[in-house]
Every structure is written in C-alpha cells, then in structure tokens.
C-alpha cells in the first residue's frame, strides 16, 4: 500500500492547536541530539517509548547501551514518519533501531496501521542499511475486551507475517502477559489501561534488552572512520 493509498503511511507533523508548540520543541530537541550524540541504539515511537525514559529501567538497561529516546506521546505512524524524514536520522548511525508506534492511529484500519509501520521500517532500512530493526507489537489496551484490542492484535498479526520479508527486521510481541483469564487488564500493569507502570516496564524491558544485547553482539562495531 503506497503513501497515496494509505493515510497511515503519509508523513504528517502535529499541528500546534494548544498554543505552546510542544511537539515541535520535542522534535527539534531530537534533531539537535542527533548532532551531539552517537547512539548505538535508537528507540522511536509514541508515549510507550517516551515514558520508558522516565522509569528506572531506562537508566539500568538502556542508557548503558548508548540509547537515545525519540518517543513523543500521542504520535501516530504519520508523525513518526515525518520526524524521521525531517532530521531525526541525520548524523547518526545506530546499530539497532527499536520502533514502537501504532496504538494512536485512531482514524486508520488495522491494515492501514500495519502499512504505516512497514513504511517506517522501510525508511529506516533505506537510511540505515547496516542497521537492524526491532518492531514491538502493539499492546492490548482498555480494562475489558474492546475493539481496540482486536485492532491492535490484527496489526500485530499482519506485522508478524510481513516484516521479516523486508530484511533485517524482527517483530517481538511483549504484550502476552497483560490480559488475565477473565479478559481484564490490571491497573497494576497499566495505570490507565494504556500506559505501563514501572513494574510492567520492567517486565517488557527484560525481553527487549536481551534481544538488543544479542543483536549488538552479532554486529561488529563500525570504526568511526568508516562513517565519514
């Protein structure tokens, strides 16, 4: 599905309706960080990514890997696509990029959302030909079974099938433990039935961290001279 056909694959910045320009401020900060830092790992996405950095788990597991966090709350695939095309991949050569986005794409169908995520993965592979990509599955949400859980699961199924065909892209679903046998999600895992508590971040980060270590080990670090 091309960008012309898929609205979820059309890059779009966030319009400042509130009046304090926060989205653009965050984007500009990330562009500046690309000039200053040399990350080995880049995490990009929505609030699921952004809030990770406000938890202990970031300092313990991801900072030591020289990771940068380019998450912005509320972002859709369109917003992430725009950011990556407008400076957030300049001057950096992360060996692994972790992509976690899609749960905020309320205007789009599961097919469209999956297409948007694929488009971002394709962009990453074309801009960073030596890098590996990890795509995190969308988590279930809401206290009880609801259409968004079905939609997110459908997106995950589509990604599971189509991502590996693109190249060095891995899909991992870290949402397996959150829905209890009675169909509920506990506020101990998602304090607002969407965002993760510190405990839940710890749970999902273990799997992600292990995969990152594995991938980083497989890839010999490039000598800086070869980046020129």
């Amino acid at each position: 599905m091309s960008a012309e056909e898929n609205p979820a694959a059309a890059p779009a910045s966030v319009v400042d309706v509130q009046g304090d320009g926060r989205w653009m401020s965050q984007h500009n900060r990330f562009v500046q960080e690309c000039k200053d830092a040399e990350p080995d790992v880049l995490l990009v996405g929505d609030s699921m990514v952004q809030l990770m950095q406000q938890n202990e788990v970031w300092r313990e597991l991801f900072s030591p890997l020289h990771a940068l966090n380019f998450g912005i709350g509320g972002d859709t695939t369109c917003n992430v696509l725009w950011r990556l095309q407008n400076g957030e991949l300049e001057n950096i050569r992360p060996r692994v990029v972790v992509l976690w986005v899609g749960t905020n794409n309320h205007e789009h169908t599961a097919d469209q959302v999956a297409g948007g995520i694929l488009a971002i993965a394709q962009l990453l592979l074309s801009r960073l030909p030596k890098s590996k990509i990890i795509v995190l599955g969308l988590l279930p949400r809401g206290e009880f079974p609801n259409p968004l859980r079905e939609k997110n699961a459908a997106v995950n199924n589509l990604l599971r099938a189509s991502l590996p065909r693109l190249g060095p892209v891995q899909f991992i679903d870290v949402g397996g433990s959150f829905v209890h046998s009675d169909g509920t999600i506990s506020s101990r895992d998602m304090f607002d039935f969407l965002h993760l508590t510190a405990g839940a971040y710890r749970t999902i980060s273990t799997a992600l961290h292990e995969l990152l270590l594995q991938l980083l080990e497989e890839m010999p670090q490039e000598r800086r001279a070869s980046l020129v």
Partner: protein
C-alpha cells in the same frame, strides 16, 4: 459566572471516542476505592496528579499519609467536576483534598477556568464540610514563552484572590522556578514541556508534602 454560561464549570463526563472506555474504567475504580478505603488525603486532577502516583515520590511522601490518587490524564475542570459529583467523594471523609487541574482547559478563558476550579471547591465543601481543599497553582508549560503560560499565571492569580477569604481552602504555588533566565523550560524538568520528570516531582513535592502535613496536624490538633 453561572454554571450554564461557563463550560469549565459544567460537569461533563469524557466521551469514549477511542473505543476502549478507559476514562469510565478509571472513574469506576475511583468510586469503588471510595467505597472500600478510608483515605486522609485525596489527590484529584489531571495527568500531573495521575503520573505522580507512578513514581517513587508517591510511595515515599504520600502513601504514608494515607492518600488516594484520583488523577486522570487529559482531564479539564469540567471532567473533574463530573467525577466528584458522581461518586468519587461518596463514602469517604478525607481531611484534605488536593486539587490540581486547569492546564487542559483549552479554549477557556482564565476567568472560566477559575470558575471551574471554584465550582469544584464548592462541590467538595458541600459533600465534605469538614474537609480542607488545597488548590495547587498551575505550572508554566512549553519550552519557550507562550500564551498558555500567561493563561495559567492568570488563572493562579484569580484563584488565589478568590480563596483568600475562605477558611476551608488554601492555595499553594507549585513552581519552584522552572523557567530559566532565558525564558526556557528544560526537558530535564518537563520531558514534554508539560509533564514532570521524576526529579522535578521531587522538587515540587517537598513543599507540597510539608503543607499537607501541617494541614493534617491542624485538622487533628
């Protein structure tokens, strides 16, 4: 300003547009907390309240005070008003209600937002005549100077003036000096130029904790 003419003071539940009913789930949980628990302090408001619960500072400073957290991200005054009028204050008798809301009242004037905050204060007082309401000042927001900072500062001035004569209400300015000399707010304090980092929460919560403790002491001398 009457309720009819002020949208910020008209109790309004959040419509479930996204499709997973999360706002109502949170409200229902708070109502059930009210039936089962006996808090001395109840925090009510938006994401600045809600996220406070997720960091170490809550466990260290506020859990020991027997506090409950009824914060919902995105809530404006009219949403908090609806929640408090529809069960969240029933069956409990906290000594202090801490109210922190107003920054999400987009499209409302400072006067309307102040009216919304006053409507909430009145509902708390009607339902809980022996409870003290501590209103927290709105924080500045945005990386650089912008109209919302001015709006929030105006709200604070209006609210402070309104509550000065009320013995069951007090106001606390929560800004420890987030705005630097060049007018900027840094992401080390507000990671998205609105919500607080754990270290910023530590800074603002020390004086808040002191104030709540002194209110609790006054309540039971």
């Amino acid at each position: 300003m009457s309720e009819d003419s002020n949208p910020a003071a008209t109790p309004t539940p959040c419509q479930d547009i996204q499709g997973d009913g999360r706002w109502m789930s949170l409200h229902n949980r708070f109502v059930s907390d009210s039936k089962g628990k006996e808090p001395d302090v109840v925090f009510v408001g938006d994401s600045l309240v809600q996220l406070l619960h997720e960091f170490e500072v809550w466990r260290k400073l506020f859990s020991p005070l027997h506090a409950l957290n009824f914060g919902v991200g995105g809530d404006a005054t009219q949403h908090v008003l609806w929640r408090l009028m529809n069960g969240e204050l029933d069956h409990i008798s906290p000594k202090v209600v801490v109210l922190w809301v107003g920054t999400n009242n987009h499209g409302h004037t400072p006067e309307q937002i102040c009216g919304g905050i006053m409507a909430i204060i009145n509902v708390v007082h009607q339902k809980l005549p022996h409870t003290h309401t501590l209103v927290l000042g709105l924080l500045p927001r945005g990386k650089s100077p912008n109209p919302l900072r001015e709006r929030n500062a105006s709200v604070n001035a209006l609210v402070q003036a309104e509550v000065v004569s009320l013995s069951h209400v007090s106001f606390l300015d929560m800004d420890p000096g987030f705005i630097h000399s060049d007018g900027s707010i840094v992401h080390q304090d507000m990671y998205d130029y609105l919500n607080l980092t754990p270290q910023a929460y530590q800074r603002v919560c020390q004086p808040l904790h002191e104030r709540i403790k002194s209110l609790l002491d006054k309540h039971d001398p």
